[in-house]
Point group: C2
Chain length 469, copies 2
C-alpha cells in the first residue's frame, strides 16, 4: 500500500529528497516458520535454564569483580553449549569501582541503624552530620549555596509504580544529579530514598557521577522503610546520621562483550542483533537485571539455530560487558561496527526484567512499516500490541542506534521491576518462567522475521550524538 | 441455662467434685458501654501513634542493648502521657546476648555472598566447610553420628503460610533443636532456611539453644532466596561455605517489665491483665513483633481510662521485658504474682502481629462460659468468631496461665506474619492502621467486659509445669 502524499508524516517528508527505498516485506514462508517457532518457544524452558545457570553458578557479577571474568567464561561456554556457530569476544576496558562495606546509623537519642547502599561511583569515607530533608531534587537545587555546609542532604522523593517504568526518569536523575547538587550547597554527604517501588530493607544502588570540578562526597541510597524512618525522625527534630562507606575506584579492568552467532544462510554478513547485559550490580544475583535479557536472547537465538533451515541473515546475540557503570559494552560494540551500520538489519536489547512483553515498535522508516506490521501480527497472539512511535532502543542498543542502526523495541511489563532493580532482592525466584518463555517467543519471532525480510529496516550511518554525562 | 448432666463435657465432669462456682455474668450496662467503646476505638488512632512512636523513637530494641533502657523509659513516659493511674516497673534479669557482625559466603568456583543472620544464643566464630543439606529436621536427626564431621549442616525446610501460623511449630523446632542435632553428628556449624514465608533477602533470626554437654557451634538462618540458591549449588556438586559470626554472650543485664494501671472502681485489687512485649529482635524495628501488641493494649487501656466511669476491676497493661530470649518478663511477672492468682480476673497478650483478630476464646471454666459468650457477642461485629476450645494463652501470658490464671485469646490473622517475623522487614510501614484499630477495639471490649463481670473466669492457683528447655 502506498500512502497519498498528503498523509505522509513529517519525518518521511524530511527524508523524501533521498531515493525512496523499496518497501520491505517478509516472505510468507518465514511467517509460517515464525508462527511455529512462537509455539515452540512458549513450551521451551531454555531461557529459564540459562537464567538459572548464570544467577546460580556466577551469582552477582559487578563489572570488574572476580565474578566478571567468571561470567565471561560462562557466556562463552553457554553459547557453545547452545550450538551457536561462532562465539567471539570484544575487549571492553573501564575504570573499576569496588564496594567493600557500608553502614549507616542515626546517632543520639534515637540511635538505630539505617539500611543504605553506596551509589556506584561514590567515594568511600565516614561522615557524620545533621540531615536536611528535601522532598525532591528541585528543592535541593533551589537551596541557597553553602546552606548545607557540614550537613547531609537527603532527597526523599517517592518513585511511582508504572508499567513502563516511567517514574524511573526522575528516580535516576535524583541518583545521578543529586550528589553534585548537594556538594554545591556545601553538603558533606548525600542520601536519597532508593529509586524503587518496594517496601523492603533492600536499598537500591545504581550509578552516580560527580560534575567536573567538584570534590566527590559519600553518596548512598536508603532502603525505602529507612527513608521513611529518617523522615519521621527529622520531623521530630534535629537528626544526626553517620554514613560510613568503604568503596571507590581501583584501577582499570578489561572485560569482554561475549558474542554468539547463528550464521545466516544467504546473507551471512548482514546481522540482526539482540542481547542483554552480562554484568550486574553486586547486591542481588542480577536475575531480572539482566540475566533475564541474556537468557531471553540467548534462548531465542538457540531456537532459531535449531530450525531445519537457518535464517537468511545472521542472528548475533551479545552479552554486553559493564552496562551498569555506563553502557561500556554497548559503546564498544557500536564503535567497532561504525563502518558496518548498513550491515545491521536491526538491533534490540532486553534489559527491563522478565515481565511479559506488551508492546512492539521499531525505529521509524516508512518503507519498513509494512514489514514491522507483519512482525507485529505474529507477535499479537502473545498479547503484544503494535504501538508505532512509542518505543525506543534498549540501553546497550542505544549507541548503535545513535550511529544509525535501526532498532526494535519489545516493551516489557515493568510494574514490579523497580521492586527489585539494583537491590539484593534481584534473585531467580522473582522470575516467572512462563513470562520468560513469552519473552523468548517474542524475541525469536522478531529476530527470525527481521532476518528473513526482503529489504531493510532503515539502518544508515549517521553522526553519533555527542556523549552524555 | 443449665446443661443436663448427660451433655456435660469431660472437663466439667472431672472438676465437678469441687464446689460449683456461681455462674459469671456481665451486667447489661457494661455491655452497653463496651458497645460504645468498640465504635470509639475503631475511629481512634492512639494505637497507631504508640506503635509509630516506639518503632521510630526507640527503633530496634534487643533485650540488653542500649535501646532496651531507652524502651523502658519510653514505656514509662508513654503510660503517664496516656493518663494511666499508676505506672510501675519490675526488674527482669537475664544473660545478655549480642550481635556484632555476620557474614556468609559460598567459596570456590561459584563464590558469592549469602545473606544470613546468627540465631540468638549462637556463639561467634568463623567456620568453613562443605555443606550437607537435609530436607527437614528428622533427616538431620536420622544421619549417622559423626557423619557431619568437619561439615556444615543445612536444614532446608519450607515453612507453609497459614492464618494461624501453624507452620511455625516446625520452623521454631528446626531453629531450637537443629543446632544440637547437628553438633551430635559432628557438624562445625549449623544453617537453616529461615522460618519464614517471604521471598526477600532478609534472614529471620530467633532464639536457639544448645543441649547440656554439647559444645555450641555457630548457628545461623539463611534468607529464603539464599537457602534456595545454596540448595541449587549443592545440587550442582560439593559446595563449601564460610560462616563468620561475631556474636555471643556478654554478662548479665537487668531490664524492666513496665506496667501501667487504670484503677478499678469497686475491686481495685482485682486485675484484668493485657499487654505485649517491649523488647524486639535487632534486625527490624519490631513493629509487628511486638510494638503492635504494646500499642494495641496500651491504647485499649487508655480508652477504658477515658470512660466517664472506671471499670469495676483494675486494667493492668504490661510491656514485658525480654520475651524474645525466653519469656523472661512473663516469667518474672507470674512469679511475682504467685500469691495473687485469685486476684487475676483474666490475662491475655497480643503478640502475633497487627493483623485483624478473627477468633476469640477463653480458658475453659464452665461457670464463665455464659460471660465468655457475652464478650463474644460484643466482639462479633468486629468480624471475630467465638471458637471455644481453639485458643490458648499468648507467649508472656503463658507462665501466669500455668500458675492458674484464666486466659483470654484474641487470635490475629497471621497470614503475613512470617513474612516479617524476626527479620529486617518488621517495620512500621507493614502495619495497616485500620487492622490495628480493630485490634484495639477488641482488646478494649474484652478487657472492659472482663473487668466488669459479676464473677470470675476460673483463675485458681495450681502448680506450675516444670520448666521447658
Amino acid at each position: 500500500m502506498r500512502l497519498a502524499p498528503v498523509l505522509l508524516p513529517a519525518l518521511l517528508i524530511a527524508t523524501s529528497s533521498h531515493a525512496a527505498p523499496r518497501e520491505t516485506r517478509i516472505p510468507e514462508a518465514a511467517i509460517a516458520t515464525a508462527t511455529q517457532l512462537r509455539a515452540q518457544a512458549l513450551a521451551d524452558d531454555t531461557g529459564w535454564k540459562i537464567v538459572e545457570s548464570l544467577t546460580t553458578e556466577v551469582g552477582p557479577r559487578l563489572a570488574g569483580s572476580e565474578a566478571d571474568a567468571r561470567a565471561v567464561e560462562w557466556a562463552k561456554a553457554k553459547f557453545k553449549q547452545l550450538g551457536y556457530d561462532k562465539v567471539w569476544t570484544q575487549p571492553v576496558t573501564f575504570p573499576k569501582w569496588e564496594r567493600r562495606s557500608e553502614h549507616g546509623a542515626v546517632l543520639g537519642a534515637h540511635a538505630q541503624p539505617l539500611a543504605l547502599t553506596a551509589l556506584g561511583g561514590s567515594p568511600g569515607g565516614t561522615v557524620e552530620g545533621e540531615v536536611v530533608r528535601f522532598a525532591d531534587l528541585a528543592s535541593l537545587q533551589a537551596a541557597p549555596d553553602g546552606s548545607l555546609a557540614g550537613k547531609i542532604a537527603f532527597v526523599d522523593y517517592t518513585m511511582p509504580r508504572a508499567r513502563d517504568g516511567g517514574g524511573y526518569g526522575m528516580g535516576s536523575r535524583i541518583r545521578g544529579d543529586g550528589p553534585s547538587a548537594a556538594i554545591r550547597k556545601g553538603a558533606v554527604a548525600y542520601l536519597m530514598r532508593s529509586a524503587g517501588t518496594d517496601s523492603h530493607r533492600v536499598p537500591h544502588t545504581g550509578n552516580t557521577h560527580f560534575d567536573a570540578g567538584l570534590k566527590p562526597v559519600p553518596a548512598a541510597a536508603l532502603a525505602i522503610p529507612d527513608a521513611e524512618q529518617l523522615a519521621r525522625l527529622i520531623a521530630l527534630g534535629s537528626t544526626r546520621v553517620r554514613v560510613a562507606l568503604d568503596c571507590g575506584w581501583n584501577g582499570e579492568y578489561t572485560s569482554q562483550n561475549v558474542i554468539g552467532e547463528i550464521r545466516g544462510r544467504t546473507k551471512p554478513d548482514e546481522v540482526v542483533v539482540i542481547g542483554g547485559h552480562l554484568d550486574s550490580w553486586d547486591l542481588g544475583t542480577g536475575a531480572i537485571d539482566d540475566a533475564a535479557g541474556v537468557g531471553i536472547t540467548m534462548a531465542a537465538g538457540h531456537l532459531i539455530g535449531q530450525l531445519k533451515q537457518a535464517p537468511a541473515r545472521t542472528i548475533r546475540v551479545i552479552a554486553y560487558a559493564n552496562e551498569e557503570r555506563g553502557l561500556y559494552g554497548g559503546k564498544v560494540y557500536a564503535e567497532s561496527q561504525a563502518k558496518q551500520i548498513g550491515k545491521h538489519q536491526i538491533i534490540a536489547e532486553s534489559d527491563f526484567g522478565a515481565g511479559r512483553i506488551y508492546a512492539f515498535d521499531t525505529s521509524p522508516a516508512e518503507h519498513a512499516k509494512a514489514a514491522a506490521k507483519q512482525i507485529a501480527d505474529v507477535l499479537a497472539p502473545l498479547g503484544i500490541e503494535y504501538t508505532p512511535g512509542k518505543g525506543g532502543p534498549g540501553s546497550d542498543a542505544g549507541p548503535s542506534a545513535e550511529r544509525g542502526v535501526a532498532w526494535g523495541s519489545l516493551a516489557q511489563d515493568g510494574s514490579d521491576y523497580f521492586d527489585l532493580h539494583h537491590n539484593a532482592d534481584d534473585t531467580l525466584d522473582k522470575i516467572d518462567p512462563k513470562a520468560l518463555a513469552q519473552n523468548v517467543a517474542a524475541y525469536a519471532v522478531f529476530a527470525y522475521l527481521a532476518a528473513n525480510a526482503d529489504g531493510d529496516f532503515g539502518s544508515a550511518p549517521k553522526e553519533p550524538a555527542p556523549p552524555k554525562n
